[in-house]
Amino acid sequence: MTTPVADESAIEVRDLVKRYAKATFNAVDGVSFSVRRGEIFGLLGPNGAGKTTTIGVLTTRVRPTSGTARLMGIDVTRDPIGVKQHIAVVPQMSNLDQSLKVRDILTFHSAYHSVPRKEREARADALLAELGLAERAKDRVSRYSGGMNQRLMIARALMHSPDVLFLDEPTNNLDPQSRLFLWDRIRELNARGLTILLTTHDMEEADRLCERIAIMDHGKVLVNDTSAELKHLIPGGTTLEVRVFVPELAAVGAPTAADASAGGEQTTTRLLAALRALPGVTKVDELSAETPAAAPPAAGGWGGAPGGGRGSPGGGGPGGPWGGAGGNGGNGGQAREPGVTTFRIYAEDASALVAAANQAVQASGAELRDLHVKRPSLEDVFIYLTGRNLR
């Protein structure tokens, strides 16, 4: 749009409060954040966190109880019509015009926004092609799948070339293929300069798409930063996992191996001490050969099922509340291998310790089997902040 706007933020929200009539609590409770022009910004939080209400205020559908919200420098309560010129919304549920054919949905939408006729026609064709709907342009929406509906709603949103696009749970209930397709389109649009605010409770979506993320819960913004910075919030940051083979321990169980076993334990103890002494290390856990139960059998490693035995805040000691002592069950089976022990090293920057850890292993006389850096996910951040799972 051509309206000159003084300030550089696409969205500016200050101390926003919304209490619905007859409600006993604030749906949005003092939220502040800003979104730069050309940014993809994510509002992440569980259902009922206040994401949709926040979007409602920004899209003129919800009147704030107090606080201000400005969009492209325009106050949403003072000049809703001005705001509407600059925005487009893709809602959670389809609200497509069931009485119109697909192409007409696009052309009428742009007519509502005073787009000249020639431009309407050209844009409709271009967008239908871009979103892979050209062949079904004459259908009614009732024949469309969920994924096609979503794409059509995005096409519709772009018909009047908005400055800010709101996506409310854009890929909720979509199959993986449609999800990836939409993610690609969203990135492309953003690359062309469109500012995007999306809400999601999908960690992966937020992580992959958003430059900055505000985590919301109970109507408040808990944190607001880049995905990487958010992950740094967790004490201990990243972890380094070192799997080693101690030959002496492998001999345990043989009738004459008592001495060898004692030597093996010495090796392990020495290594543990050496690892603890590495710079920046806050904690080292030993997932020993004898006690694979340290890893809860249900937990499936970092990428595993949500809720699978992750620690609550503060629950795992100073080293890593998000992982707990045995958050990673992926090594449970491997740890049973005779003579193999896994150490988990919590450190501010575990990836910087790769070489040093390798040296420590070699110096101890053990053999290095595997060594890798694990990073916390956004989900871990959320659990760390709220003590709850997102879903």
Partner: protein
Amino acid sequence: MATTSQAPTDTTFAAGGVPQGARPTSHARLALNAFFAILQRDIVVTGRDLIAFLAQVLLQPLFFLFIFGKVLPGIGLTSAGFGALLLPGIVGLTTVMAAMQGVALPMVLDLGFAREIDDRLLAPMPDVLVAVEKVIFATLRGLIAGGVMFPLAVWILGDQYNVRSDRILVLLVMLVLASLVGACIGLFLGTSVRPEQIGLMFSLILTPLLFTGCTYYPWAGLDSLKWFQILTLFNPLTYADEGIRYAMVPPIHGHDITTLGLQWVFLGLGVSIVVFFALGTRTFLRRVVS
């Protein structure tokens, strides 16, 4: 991901290089464009289903007209002149009901779960204009339905069709007001009723409206049934039907038939339009902005 703080230009980041033409900048101009585009959308959609629309609003009144205006007088159960008194009532009823349904049903569904209206609410116009558009559109609908009744009445009533032609202007004004009152009532009902209450709306609201509105009997004829005559004054349809009756029924033996006074007709219709429009827009705004 994009580079940050790159201000979007006024050209095209979407739709593969389609150049962006000039658009109005004044809010009034934008709102007017949006208003007419939405009106056009409703007209296009109704135009595509014109037969279904006419069947929906005309079938019932035509049967009424046939039975009460043709069959009953034909077998001697009512007097021959009844058709002339009934037709204005049926025209009024058809007009009011077509307009009312034109807003009420779509509005109930839209606000209930379809939410198609959201796209229009995001158009650069004041929210209330979305409701005004629906009222205007429904008024047009009512006028078309009422207008189509005339040739059909000629066809059904045959020699019983008897309409005066010297008050056409009054008739037109009455039809417009009747349609408008129907649309405003429709706006109020459509924004107040939940989808699961549609059945209830028909039986509890529409049925009494249908039968207490002086459609099948002239108001003056109720003199001997005073309490009911008074009751009918609470029904906006009464004023519409009596106004249309005044404009349509030819003099009998040189005397105009007695109808509700025109000043009362205008007052009744005017008050109904204002009250229902005010209530309707209020509930509408409550439903679309929280």
